[in-house]
Subunit: 352 residues, 2 copies
């Protein structure tokens, strides 16, 4: 299996190193062969070649079976022109690779309940997955200034039927192998694209009679995600709503440092990255939490390579280490505070 | 002072009755004269005249010094065509009256801390105000289906400089009389309208050197609102982001039943309504929480009539009643549970 490795910026570098270390151990244990090819992306690529997504990187990704990404961005590049900002590298990669389905699972680790701003009884039984459309909507619609004096700014939220159908199908399939409940989130009382979205969900739902479907407005969802997060199983929504709601939902877990993500398309290719950013303030200090990155690697084993057993081994190792009370400083709870590398040492102990 | 009274649907009727009762008491106590004129809106107006915002209602509003609104909508009207849905009455009223600034204060009542899904220490010191742009953006941009087979849906997020300037000015003015901190929320790494928004905030900030300004991305804000809500003072943002974030923030208070809102323009006219909806499931049962409605009336006294003392009297009366442990059933905490009318009886006792 060929894996493209894009560390990116800030703590992306460190957590990626640890993920590769874990994957090599998994390969040894289970007798697989993983081949890693590194590429530049984001600020690191801007510094090296003036382009946040160099063509060579895109080639590496296209020739790989899966992509691991660390994190991109940082204040260092806040003044570069907006068309070559580090984020453009990430957005470009998603779009070019056609990775239309962003999966963000949220579970509250029992051990980290003190880190969450939410009450224990609210988060105890949370096990939800946000499925966000990732290559359409207002992120990729026409965007311009117009009018004399350029004093009107316009962005366009556009979806066609096919784009909505494929993400909704994906969400139904995921719901079917989970608790069989799908919440589709929109703003149908205001947006035409939401009304079309709702129609398509209703049409497709006929094929999944075993999955319970509900429609919920995005504003109500923003409330209910905090008030009764345990009532959600799979939540499917368009790109921008998904961006906001998945970040909101991440607070259930207490720490961004625990949350993985997968970006998929219809075949088995995928991009796997932690939900957290590049955290330049703690970069290079062996303080970053590597668990989101290695849990993303576990998602890769599962979704791109169909290595369920191996994915499970990584996830269990993480849980065991947390059970022993270890954590990195970011989590902000009183535990046995250890560094990035030491955390992965512990995880590797459990793996073997 | 002439007040337009639009009860609307569901519990809107009941809570409005109570608000009028309180306002009459305030008028007596402080020797003012309030004149109330009732109008139809939302589902009630659809049923009566087939239009969620009849011209007569708009006339009443235009001839009044302020508007009180209960709530609109309900499943009863879920099948009416989208151009005459109950919500269209509300959106039309905001737009026709030019009420571009929606103010939603969020404070966590000490007495209701058990009702919040957030931990006590997280919400204890929260005192924030979301200022949402209310008459522009994707709510009012061009929206259509196109393509052969009508299989493309498009919504347009559009702002011009003037629309952004006036809401940002309003937010700075509010921050100046509060804790002097303004958080401007956008998605400048993706949207052109957000980049223009950010530029305008920076320009206007020069006039308010005493106000500290920060820019925050909408996704980060969705996290921080739950993680560290006490760090916010005034939060200003565009229409759709404001819809989502203000509903999210309402969970801090624990109950929607406590949250008022004001929708203002540059003169002293304003529309005042509770944040909660029409709650058809409990309508007519004397169970609705009337406090959000009367706190909205208090905002009217303050923002439209500049009757600070009177507004304060209503707010203090509410706090005193809560201090005695009374609450309506919606709040869901163990307290002295009383009905809609009884709650207002208690408030009136404190007023006199
Ligand atoms: C960096 C940014 C453009 C990106 C997004 O909004 O998609 C990020 O917030 C994310 O969620 O991955
Ligand atoms: C009813 C709906 C159109 C409205 C909105 O989105 O503005 C409501 O959610 C609100 O926040 O007042």
């Amino acid at each position: 299996k060929r894996i493209a490795v894009l560390p990116g910026d800030g703590i992306g570098q460190e957590v990626m190193e640890e993920a590769v270390r874990v994957l090599k151990a998994v390969a040894d244990c289970f007798d697989h062969k993983f081949e890693f090819t590194e590429g530049l992306i984001g600020g690191a690529a801007i510094d090296a070649v003036g382009n946040p997504l160099p063509p060579e990187t895109l080639d590496i990704c296209k020739e790989s079976d899966a992509i691991l990404l660390g994190a991109v961005g940082g204040p260092k590049w806040s003044d570069v022109p907006s068309d070559i900002r580090p984020e453009k590298g990430l957005l470009g990669l998603r779009k070019e690779m056609g990775l239309f389905a962003n999966l963000r699972p949220v579970t509250a680790y029992r051990q980290l309940v003190n880190a969450s701003p939410l009450k224990r009884e609210v988060i105890e039984n949370v096990d939800l997955m946000i499925v966000r459309e990732l290559t359409g909507g207002i992120y990729f619609g026409k965007s311009e200034r117009r009018g004399e004096n350029q004093d009107i700014a316009v962005d366009t939220l556009q979806y066609d039927v096919k784009e909505i159908e494929r993400i909704v199908e994906k969400a139904f399939q995921l719901a079917r192998v989970r608790r069989k409940k799908l919440t589709s989130v929109d703003k149908a009382n205001v947006l035409e694209s939401s009304r079309m979205w709702r129609e398509i969900v209703d049409q497709i739902s006929v094929k999944y009679p075993d999955v319970e479907v509900e429609h919920m407005l995005v504003d109500s969802t923003a409330m209910k995600l905090i008030h009764h997060p345990e009532t959600f199983d799979v939540v499917v929504t368009e790109n921008m709503f998904g961006d906001i709601l998945s970040d909101e939902a991440s607070m259930i877990a207490g720490s961004l440092g625990m949350l993985p993500s997968a970006s998929l398309r219809s075949d088995s290719a995928g991009l796997y990255e932690p939900v957290h950013g590049s955290a330049p303030d703690i970069a290079g200090e062996n303080k970053a939490n590597p668990l989101a990155m290695i849990l993303s690697a576990a998602m890769m084993l599962k979704y791109s390579f169909h290595l369920e057993k191996e994915a499970h081994a990584v996830e269990s190792a993480v849980t065991e280490v947390l059970n022993q009370g270890y954590c990195t400083p970011d989590v902000g709870i009183s535990g046995k505070c250890i560094g990035t590398k030491e955390m992965i040492d512990k995880v590797m102990d459990k793996l073997n």
